[in-house]
Symmetry: C2
Subunit: 390 residues, 2 copies
């Protein structure tokens, strides 16, 4: 299999973007990605798009055809990939396999979601759970993750203060991200006293409903050298994916994401590294509890330890731990479902490249490795990417 690198990245701001349509968003991100990669549209061999539910949010399927058309990229193959909130990273994985196979040299991979045009976004999002056995009985994503949080607090004595510190740190990080939906700080007291959503989760433990898009240009190593100096290339070292039961009640444990463990271990093995080699990671904190669980399942700390590590702010520019979600994460940077997996990889790309976009939030790169963990549903799908400087 051929080596695959990232050549460029672009994204829109995430937020309630009333003045931008579904196609406006992805075209804006795509054009930025092409520009930063220093390529032309005609250099692109193929396109992939991650999108969770164009159907339920804007009444539009046949997503990739629409976007290839709007972006003026016809007649290249254009493919939409869906796995709920993990749609973006699954689209990236297909693009990587395509380049690795030798079929294409340069691929545009985008992710997009336009969530604010629908009256009941929570209902649309619930289509990521088991429709017949969860959603039909009224379970929403806040309530499913609240069950995970409740059980975790019971099993590991996690306090609400520890859980809430996650949100404080995410907002602190996002305050330095001009694309973040919430680029401002919040205090621990503000998180604790925010409106209850589903016990024990407060509003400030939840990621928002967001419009947004993000796009990457990836290429074979050989082709990339035509555009960029070899020492500037950022490599994709591993792309792994695993599945778990879609319904929470079918799992042996609801305080871990089995698919994250499996995909994570496989990724470390392929990249020939261990968790301690990671300098920076973007993990899927659709709800604060999921951020904590992922720190453990990805091997950054032992089970039950995440709360204390977060409360001590070790995940934020400390010497003791990789920095987690310098972007602000889903919590504060926003969560435009299909775009999230691409945005996570984009942030790691910027961090490893020490791009001027992350000047104010640059993590110290010691070992040269970064990781992303993108989750679909309550963990029915998990997709991991490991990036490196060489």
């Amino acid at each position: 299999m051929r080596k695959v690198v990232i050549l460029g990245y672009g994204q829109t701001k995430f937020g309630e973007l009333w003045d931008k349509s579904f196609r406006d968003l992805i075209v804006e991100a795509g054009v930025k990605a092409v520009e930063t990669a220093g390529i032309d549209g005609k250099d692109i061999d193929e396109m992939y798009i991650g999108n969770m539910s164009g159907g339920l949010f804007v009444g539009q399927e046949h997503i990739a055809s629409l976007i290839a058309d709007s972006a003026g990229l016809n007649p290249i193959p254009a493919t939409r990939v869906e796995a709920a909130c993990a749609s973006g990273s699954l689209a990236l994985r297909q693009a990587i396999l395509n380049v690795a196979s030798g079929n294409s040299d340069v691929i545009l991979v985008g992710g997009v979601e336009k969530m604010t045009d629908v009256v009941d976004a929570t209902k649309a999002i619930s289509s990521a759970s088991d429709q017949e056995w969860e959603a039909l009985f009224g379970a929403t994503f806040p309530s499913l993750y609240a069950m995970m949080a409740n059980r975790y607090m019971y099993e590991y004595n996690l306090t609400l203060e520890e859980l809430s510190m996650w949100s404080v740190l995410m907002h602190e990080h996002a305050s330095k991200n001009r694309y973040a939906q919430f680029p401002f700080k919040v205090s621990l007291e503000q998180v604790l006293s925010s409106s209850p959503v589903a016990e024990p989760l407060r509003l400030l433990h939840c990621s928002p409903v967001s419009d947004g898009a993000a796009a990457l240009i990836i290429a074979s190593e050989d082709k990339a050298k035509e555009f960029v100096n070899k020492d500037e290339l950022i490599y994709i070292k591993a792309t792994t994916q695993a599945s778990d039961t879609i319904a929470l009640h079918d799992r042996e444990s609801i305080t871990e994401l089995k698919a994250a463990k499996i995909a994570g271990e496989k990724a470390y093995k392929i990249a020939k590294i261990s968790p301690k080699d990671i300098d920076v990671a973007e993990v899927h904190d659709c709800f604060a509890i999921n951020g904590l669980i992922l720190l453990e399942d990805l091997g950054f700390c032992k089970k039950g330890e995440a709360g204390k590590i977060v409360y001590n702010k070790e995940i934020s520019y400390s010497d003791k731990f990789p920095t987690i979600n310098p972007s602000g994460g889903l919590k504060a940077a926003g969560h435009a479902l299909g775009a999230t997996g691409i945005r996570q990889v984009g942030e790691i790309y910027w961090q490893l490249k020490e791009d001027k976009e992350v000047k104010d939030r640059q993590v110290e790169i010691k070992n040269g490795y970064g990781l992303t963990a993108n989750v679909g549903g309550t963990g029915g799908t998990v997709c991991i990417h490991i990036l490196s400087r060489n």
Copy 2:
């Protein structure tokens, strides 16, 4: 890139299957595919699913996670691919690239759609057109294809009798297919006098709303030899895909599918054959006019000639032309959107293999090549596969 072969195929009956749920359908097809391939579930490295709109038809996204779970295939990676009615063949293409890259050895590729649980299927289907510039103004798929038919009749003097003969032949073929939604013959008079849908299209020029699923097992050539004798292998010689404008009004011509021409020419080139080498083909006749247009765009005849060829029944077990849609096509075998691309390839696999399933409708295999053409929307996406005996 490694050579990729088909190891097994299974499908449900297509039709109004009130007693079977979305997950029942795909599990039934998947189990049949595994059984005919002579493999075990544990031999499967990865899974792909083609599905157009679980969201709008049954309120379910995160499709591949649901299916991996229902089929007992966790924790393998499971990915859903969408491109409207071309979803199935795009899922297959991703699986082929995955095996070709060396990442996986054996992959289950399924397609599924449960269309009869929704009140307004036509509205859900219209999400495959341009939502803002076609569907919002009332354009439905029958009306879009009716415009194509009208213009084609004007430009090429096609008669309604010639167009209607397509449906007669499709029903004749389907009468020998136990999985077909309409396994019975209709006369030319019946087609001509069926209810008007959108002028000039009558009810019997239209494919039906269908529930159904289909599944293939594909593998690398080397791995396949562990399960099947080399001379029984059916090879995938080419998998190509192209995009066109999603909206009909943006095209230079609405009497051809530009994406079919581009993907077709590329496929012939990769397979190193010409259209005259094809013994049997399955083409996407969501409406009869599309069957005729594809015969021309795929190079089986010249522009404007398809009507006469069809009227003379040359596409049905004649010496002069490849046999088209021995299954009965979308028209009479049924059109369970996401399943269609897989069902088409399954039929060609059976035909090239001279499987007992197609005993009563076996096409004479002279050159050993078969082709499928799967279309998304009005041609915004077209995906072509060429299969061969060796």
